[in-house]
Amino acid sequence: MAATPHVLVIGGGSTGVGIARDLAMREFDVTLLEQGNLTHGTTGRMHGLLHSGGRYAVADQASATECIEENRVLRDIASHCVEMTGGLFVKRPEDDESYFQDKLSGCEECGIPAEVVSGREARQMEPHLATDIDKAITVPDGAVDPFRLVVANAASAQEHGARVETHSKVRDLLVEDGEVVGVEVEHDSGPGLRVHGVEGGREEIRADYVVNATGAWAGRIGDMAGVDIEVRPSKGVMTIMNVRQVDTVINRCRPKGDADIIVPHETTAILGTTDEEVADPEDYPEEQWEVDMMIDTLKELVPMLEEARTIRSFWGVRPLYEPPDVGSEDPTDITRDFFLLDHEERDGLPGMTSIVGGKFTTYRMMGEQIADHVCNQFGIDRACRTADVPLPGSEDFSVLRDYMDEFGLRSPIGRRSVERLGSRADEVLQTAGPNPTVCECEGVTRAEVQDAIAQSGSDLNAVRIRTRASMGNCQGGFCSHRLASELHGEYEEPIARRAWDELLQERWKGQRHALWGQQLSQAALNYALHATTQNRDHDPADGESLDFSAFDSGTDDRTTGAAGTDVAADGGHADGY
């Protein structure tokens, strides 16, 4: 065994990057593999709630206690990913009073700061709440940007020497002498940053230990080594509103149920969710009734949702797990706790541990426990530092700056940029030349896009999750071609074109679930812009070559272009022509 053990972590969601960062900080040699972009799986498809623990305070107090602890840690180490919005558990007249009391005492028991406010006070905090709200409990819920958090964890791991490979799918586990010794991986392009058109290929990566942190996909990795991991994927819908109707997390104060939470997320609000078991984490129906249920149920809390614009919906798949002997019928009964499955102990297969279940909010704690477990394998005793060292971007920074003086940016754009970049803002936004806004909906400038391109290769969806470019109300209608042009500085035109098409398709995918009213109008405008004005749908560069000579070549007055005869001879004004 090498002096520095090589640990291979499969899965670029919050759990995987959390483990990778922790191990890298404990001086392991780490490789992280992700089949898509970072956050490709469940992490990129969640509502962005930083739990206070309040949601578990009645039914699962252990989880609740972990949540409030980690909630405090993340405010510290991930300050540029977290917005402390605060949260409310709102009780409607028809909701059960005893449950409200249970919630309150549960919070107390778990150390979650909670106070009761009247309906009137709640509406002062959140004016769009329904007027018949009885009362509410305040809790320290927050909003977290999962993309930024995962990207920052991965960046930190890389700073500590880790290798991070995205768009790299594990095709097989290498098992030698009954022990997992590595993987065979297929790079979409690469290795290294993903660049369209660069040939990928298979690579054998040997490791001293493998951590399977693939969430809902854990069973597939298990299958490769013949071990059975019974993940029970459960889908949930999330509907994104165009603007924030609330600036506080709004929870419905009643026992488990669908459509009971609104999370203010960056410029939007996210409505969630449902809980329905599915067979395949990659292939499940996404249905109209689910979206309608979000709006029609949550409007009981915030009536204006009825008429408000949604910009897309997406589904996430929870990687729920319970030991096979429990046998819950309803996925909502399955614990949100996580399980460390040491395959040596469990299946007699040394060299690999899987981690299943768990929650986003406690990703760091899970990472710490896995890293401890890995340390034990190698008899290494090094302390975890992930709770103390801020993530890149979360070092000291202030959002109160003179944006025009310092960066030449209008204040809301500067403000949003700094909120996203945190302590990296100066490094990214101080530019010599003009720094125009590329995505106007989200206030993303060229400098920030270029910074993201440097991190992500030619993948515009990777640029998107880093910057939020194309995630606003036009859903890429007005900035997709601009983003492609930003890529073109670095990459050849055909690469930019493929990335562009991929972005358009990705944006369309979620927008389809919001196609009525304003968003259908937007989609029709985008379609006109892309197809009519840009002819993006019939790009001759993508098809057979054209016979240009068969088309109108203009009239014959070619000496000064085609305008010679049109000059107005009306005298005009003394403006120096």
């Binding site: 003009p434 358009l504 369309w508 109108d552």
Partner: protein, 413 residues
């Protein structure tokens, strides 16, 4: 007392303006009422007639030849090839657009780096036709993210254009803010000689003998011809604008030209207040224009609905369905809203075809296929049965049906 006219046109986009201009030129007492500004201003300013068949065949060299092959419910079939030609004649008479010398489509470069088939183009875009084999230098501006000249040039090359094309990005003279609007560039080029000189100098410094210079569409507003010809004479090269948008100066120049044609022809118009309702059974007696809560009657003998499609809000929708908001005209559409679209971004989207159906005189039909009113016709984007974006037929359909609606309505007077 109602505000009265012979023909009332509801909507001030390309279709409404064509209707009103056509009728006014025939001496009809016409009034155009438009709520806010139309989507014409968003459009590139190119006037497409038909670039691709509904099956995606194309680019078509001769749009007129393809019209008889279109499906029966296509608005061009209602108007007929001769009707389309007559309509284009009116358009050619009231604008300075090019392309009328031939039936053949031209291919024009787009700011997205492709070329697209179009039947008419403004003089400012004329030198850009892609079937001209003279070399092209595309010049972009540093802060103008909508037109990246090197990227567009590389893309055009990949599209196989028959000329050498290269792109360069320059800084616009003066110290403009990065978010300066297109109108600011246009204004400076129009009114400030130092800006023009500096602009010419910077273009010249990056040019290596190309005979054509392509620029973003910011070369002046009211005085755009003078700006362009000034640049041409200073550079000794043909200068053209690459249409883009929104925002689109070529689009709003076209709008200006059509409003002034309407004014010259004696038509009345007003903008800013919506038509919200109507009175009448078999015939519309009058419509109601809402002015801050008050509904003012506007009466006419004949009415033309030219309020646009989903973008122009002549057609609207909610979670339950798709509808026409003023007259509640029948709009055929799938009940399940998940059948309104295709899964592919450029797939065959049913929503793109949603609109009202008409008889051969462009009278709006109800769900049973009978005229909803004796005196209501429809033109332009509010019509169903065609996907203007995929076909590149939006402007042509608006002009042709606007003309046809005006002619049919005039005959009834």
């Amino acid at each position: 007392m109602a505000i009265d006219s012979e023909l009332l046109v509801v909507g001030g986009g390309l279709a409404g303006l064509t209707t009103a201009v056509t009728a006014a030129r025939e001496g009809v007492d016409v009034r155009l009422v438009s709520y806010k500004q139309s989507t014409l201003r968003n459009a590139s300013g190119l006037v497409d007639v038909l670039g691709y068949t509904p099956d995606g065949e194309g680019p078509l060299t001769d749009p007129f030849a393809a019209i008889p092959e279109l499906p029966d419910d296509h608005p061009y079939r209602t108007v007929g090839v001769d009707g389309v030609r007559s309509a284009m004649d009116v358009f050619d008479e009231v604008t300075d657009y090019r392309g009328g010398h031939t039936d053949t489509n031209a291919l024009l470069p787009t700011h997205g780096g492709t070329v697209k088939p179009t039947a008419r183009y403004p003089p400012g875009a004329a030198a850009g036709v892609a079937s001209d084999d003279r070399d092209v230098l595309l010049v972009g501006l540093q802060s103008m993210t909508d037109f990246d000249a090197p990227h567009v040039a590389a893309h055009l090359e990949a599209a196989g254009v028959p000329f050498d094309v290269s792109g360069v990005t320059i800084q616009f003279p003066g110290d403009l803010q990065a978010d300066a609007k297109v109108t600011r560039y246009a204004k400076l080029l129009e009114t400030d000689p130092a800006t023009r000189d500096g602009f010419v100098e910077r273009i010249e410094a990056n040019r290596s003998g190309q005979q054509r210079i392509g620029l973003p569409a910011v070369l002046g507003d009211d005085d755009h011809d003078r700006v362009r010809t000034h640049l041409e004479s200073e550079l000794g090269a043909a200068v053209f604008e690459v249409p883009s948008g929104p925002p689109s100066l070529p689009g709003l120049r076209l709008e200006d030209a059509l409003f002034s044609a309407l004014d010259s022809a004696g038509g009345s118009f007003e903008t800013g207040n919506p038509v919200v309702d109507y009175e009448g059974d078999d015939r519309i007696d009058h419509v109601l224009v809402e002015k801050s809560g008050t509904e003012v009657p506007y009466s006419a003998d004949q009415y033309v609905l030219a309020t646009g499609g989903l973008v122009g809000k002549g057609i609207d929708s909610d979670r339950e369905g798709v509808y026409e908001p003023i007259f509640d005209c029948h709009v055929d559409h799938a009940e399940d809203r998940y059948e309104w679209f295709d899964g592919d971004v450029f797939g065959d989207h049913p929503f793109a075809r949603y609109g009202v159906d008409t008889d051969d005189r462009l009278r709006v039909l109800d769900a049973d296929g009978d005229p909803q009113f004796d005196n209501l016709r429809a033109a332009g984007g509010v019509l169903g049965g065609y996907d203007y974006a995929a076909e590149k037929s939006g402007s042509g359909v608006s002009i042709a049906t606007g003309y046809h609606a005006a002619t049919a309505a005039t005959e009834e007077l």
